[in-house]
Amino acid sequence: MSTMIQRETSAGADQDGAPPPDGRARDRRSLILIVGLLLVGAIVLIAALSLVWLPYAPSDTTGSRLDGPGLAHWLGTDRLGRDLFTEIMVGARIALVVGLGAVGVGAAIGIPVGLSAAFAVGWLDDTMSAAMDILIAFPVLLLAMLFVAVTGASLVTVTVAIGLSLSAIVARLTRIVAKRVLAEQYITAARTSGTGWLGIVRQHILPNIWPTISVNLGLLFGVAVLAEASLSYLGLGAPPPNSSWGRLLQEAQSTVVTAPLGAVAPGIALVILVIGVNLLVDGLRDVADPTQARAR
């Protein structure tokens, strides 16, 4: 925070006369950041807690069927008498692990592919961008389903499947942003001073594309979490005993009228995580991108 303040005061002294940052806009930003942090923090806390403590052993029948919420079962039980809160906690872990893993796979493949596409010229450039466009035309979920159908469902294949589907999106974005940076004069300037291509990628391109890429990876995390839940809902997710939120939703479907909490609770958990991540990313954008902070 102190570096931010320092930067803003010196930017204010800029002879080009950058306008002082609007106080109200900044307050709104930090509110978004705080709400996002709280929402994501709650889910992360629950997931972390599930590693060391759970109210009940997961997938143990510990109550009667479809109990309402009470002291013994905070969110009630499901149709097999399992504690719903326990399953939500385990589901939080799965959502985070699959989400982070998928975004990691997507970035690990997408960024290098996008960077090489940015350097490609002529027919290679055309072919690579056409391939990316075609892949992006398929919904993430459909590609992931195809992959899982071929490899079989497990926590790892689901993560890789979603990650691969996201990688096309990451690659295309990386290509576009890197191309824009490549056209900048400071790249030419670096080349005239004798910096090789590797040095240019490391020192100029990666830092300059990172603000855009990281924000989008954050948003894609939300997409990955939803895709995981959807795959589980369709029965293509990680098999039991991994109680994914998507599977909880699917299992509660038949009893949604008599015991609505079984569907509402995982649904709300999903919404909290996805909205939280979106708000968090939006708020963090300022911190990640000094030029944006200046423009504001």
Partner: protein, 270 residues
């Protein structure tokens, strides 16, 4: 022996339009050459071709011998060692020529580290020295700033420090003061003049401004629509231009000067 020998250099775009046609000139070690002409005359392209960095879609033919290495058609890996060490560049707009996200000290450290193999506190010392050499006040503060946090003149001084970091023998300055206001311009020109003389560097000074060129060099090549129309000393070019274009160019420069002088005489510049 010449540091740079350009022989029948042409630059052609992919649709076959010649942007530079059959330009030849030489620069000896320590020599200064002005490259003058209006915008679009191909003077900047000629400068970029010298170092093998033409924009995408443009192709050079002919011969450019830079320190006995053929630049035209050479693979990138042969050119990288020349850049910065034999020949380096100063650009017109220092704001866009500096990476906005990288601290200036860090940016300056890059060529210094590569050239002199320094690390840690020695590298930091060298960076501050380099900033001091271009007469920047508070080198520590500048090194810790990003390009948009300092003034235009200061930016150009940082760019000059970067260009000189590897002790090049030829400096190409592409309209280095055009983006600066007149008072700052004068200081930057004086600094360039001093540094180039001090290190016995050769210089190609690209500009459309005859007055500025005449401050930096006494020898110039006049370019017009991709062709070199005349080469000679600035005095000759002004006094007895052989080519009508040079005459026109000199006359317009003189017109501006007289208009300016009379405006000052009237006491209210227009």
């Amino acid at each position: 022996m010449n540091l740079l020998e350009v022989a029948s250099l042409s630059v052609t775009s992919s649709d076959g339009v010649a942007r530079v046609r059959d330009v030849s000139f030489t620069v000896a070690p320590g020599e200064r050459l002005g490259l003058i002409g209006e915008s679009g005359s191909g003077k900047s392209l000629t400068a970029f071709a010298v170092i093998g960095l033409l924009p995408a879609g443009l192709k050079a033919t002919g011969s450019v011998m830079l320190d006995d290495t053929q630049v035209v058609g050479a693979p990138e890996k042969n050119l990288v060692p020349l850049r910065g060490r034999v020949c380096s560049f100063i650009f017109q707009e220092p704001l866009t020529a500096l990476d906005p996200l990288m601290k200036l000290g860090h940016q300056l450290a890059e060529p210094i580290a590569r050239h002199q193999g320094l690390r840690g506190s020695a590298l930091k010392r060298a960076v501050l020295d380099a900033l001091d050499e271009v007469h920047l006040p508070e080198p520590e503060r500048i090194a810790d700033s990003r390009s948009y946090e300092i003034s235009g003149g200061q930016r150009q001084r940082v760019a000059i420090a970067m260009a000189l970091a590897c002790r090049p023998r030829l400096l190409i300055a592409d309209e280095p003061t055009t983006a600066l206001d007149v008072t700052v311009q004068s200081g930057v020109l004086a600094l360039l003049d001093h540094l180039v003389a001090d290190r016995d560097m050769a210089m190609i000074f690209v500009s459309h401004d005859l007055a500025v060129v005449s401050r930096m060099t006494d020898h110039a090549l006049v370019m017009r629509s991709g062709e070199a129309v005349e080469r000679g000393s600035i005095g000759e070019l002004l006094a007895s231009p052989r080519h009508p274009y040079t005459a026109e160019f000199a006359a317009s420069a003189r017109r501006i000067e007289t208009a300016f002088a009379s405006a000052i005489a009237r006491g209210r510049p227009e």
